[in-house]
């Protein structure tokens, strides 16, 4: 017993080394799966406050670019307003339309932390459960898709960036839903890939890639980007498609979190029928 204690005391540093390495490895393997991101919720509250302060300062430097993007978005929205349309017929009747109800609503948020250089990138937003944010909500920038909320604390939330090798979406290419996957290969932060699209579809450079409602994260027709290059895959059955992202992920500033009012209902209904892809 005495000897054992002496042995432990003498080699204490080696045991400590092994313990610390063990803790780190455990954390690395256990927590890097985003479903089990317990780590995020505890640390994001503390870090969020510090990162907000940093963002408050940094914001001034990007005001001009941010302004430009908002202007572009304004132009886009203005062209959608009714005042831009000419009504040739004057015999319209006002009806209270109870057949329609709002499904998607948008919550503006600011990015307070963002990374693009890792294989699995995340960004932090200054909105949390107090503002009604929940896991699984889509995040878009004024120009296109940006990510997906994976963790929420009271005042902040963490979103998986589209630049994350775990991020998967079903794309719509040139207005047609194709059963492929939008997925990043971890190389270039301006380009994501679309895989598993059968080569008999007509896919060309310049076609627009947009979202579908699958998964109930995004409304349909939110832009992801434009096709940059199309090549036959190695086995010749599929297209290898590179898509130039509409959103400049390195300059992510103002974003919108998308709330789908029927998501819970849809998910409950679909539970048990869905095959996880």
């Amino acid at each position: 017993m005495q000897n054992l204690l002496q042995f432990i005391r003498k080699n204490f540093h080696i045991f400590l080394f092994l313990i610390l390495q063990g803790i780190s490895l455990f954390a690395l393997i256990r927590f890097n799966n985003y479903h089990q991101s317990v780590f995020f919720s505890t640390s994001s509250t503390v870090n969020g406050t510090i990162l907000t302060q940093r963002k408050n300062i940094i914001n001034y430097f990007s005001l001009q670019g941010e302004n430009q993007r908002l202007k572009e978005e304004n132009i886009l929205l203005r062209t959608r307003g009714t005042e831009n349309f000419i009504f040739f017929s004057s015999d319209t009747i006002d009806v209270y339309d109870s057949t329609k109800t709002l499904q998607y609503s948008y919550l503006p948020a600011k990015v307070i932390y963002n990374s693009i250089r890792k294989q699995k990138n995340y960004f932090t937003l200054d909105r949390g459960s107090l503002h009604g944010v929940e896991k699984g909500m889509g995040v878009i920038s004024p120009l296109g898709v940006a990510g997906l909320v994976v963790d929420v604390s009271e005042n902040f939330c963490v979103a998986m960036s589209i630049l994350n090798t775990d991020f998967v979406l079903t794309p719509k290419i040139n207005g047609q839903i194709l059963y492929g996957n939008v997925n990043w290969n971890g190389k270039n932060d301006e380009v994501v890939q679309v895989t598993k699209i059968s080569d008999h579809y007509d896919v060309r450079v310049g076609h627009e890639v947009t979202t579908t409602e699958y998964g109930h994260y995004f409304p349909r027709n939110i832009k992801i980007g434009n096709i940059k290059s199309v090549e036959k895959s190695k086995n010749g059955k599929y297209w290898d498609i590179d898509v130039e992202l509409a959103t400049n992920m390195s300059q992510l500033g103002e974003v919108y979190i998308i709330r789908n009012s029927f998501k819970k209902e849809l998910n409950e209904l679909e539970e048990g029928y869905r095959d996880d892809n």
């Binding site: 540093h13 803790i23 690395l28 990374s115 963490v158």
Partner: protein, 174 residues
């Protein structure tokens, strides 16, 4: 380490970690450059510092950087591992008399050729372990190697710059 050393360690840690977390982690130079400046803190700990203290310091620093970049365990693993290599080096390949002097390696109190090699090798090893571990596979190994090379070169440059800037203080203290 006496109290003054501890105060200095904490103060310099706050500065360097702030630079790492708030500035360097947010610099988007390009896809291949991801320098870790904060390992200068580990490399300039006193060479005869007790082992368990060294490991704990490395772990805490790694943990802080991890928690700000959402990579739990990645930096802390690498930092503790590099600390282990550093101890192996100092305990086996350096003469005992110099080891017991307990200096903090820098340009002012070591041979500059030796110091350059010391910083370069450990920085390279750090980035090697870090980025291999981050990728967790050997797919696109060429790209990872390139990233390791670019990142560690930039980190070495930054560390030397840092040393040149703050070296004067240490000389005055001695």
């Amino acid at each position: 380490m006496i109290t003054r050393d501890w105060i200095r360690l904490v103060a310099s840690s706050i500065v360097v970690l702030a630079v790492q977390i708030l500035i360097i982690n947010n610099l988007n130079l390009n896809q291949y450059m991801f320098p870790q400046l904060y390992i200068i803190l580990l490399l300039s700990l006193p060479i005869n510092l007790k082992h368990y203290v060294g490991y704990l310091i490395a772990f805490i620093m790694g943990f802080v950087v991890d928690s700000f970049s959402y990579t739990p365990g990645l930096q802390s693993f690498t930092a503790v591992f590099v600390m282990f290599l550093r101890y192996s080096y100092f305990n086996n390949l350096v003469d005992k008399e110099w080891l017991s002097s307990g200096i903090r390696p820098s340009f002012s109190n070591a041979d500059s050729g030796w110091y350059l090699a010391y910083v370069s090798i450990f920085t390279f090893v750090f980035h090697f372990v870090l980025l291999i571990l981050e990728n967790f596979s050997f797919v696109n190994f060429g790209g990872t190697m390139l990233k390791i090379l670019y990142s560690s070169s930039l980190a070495i440059l930054l560390i030397l710059l840092f040393q040149f800037t703050f070296n004067r203080e240490t000389v005055n203290d001695e």
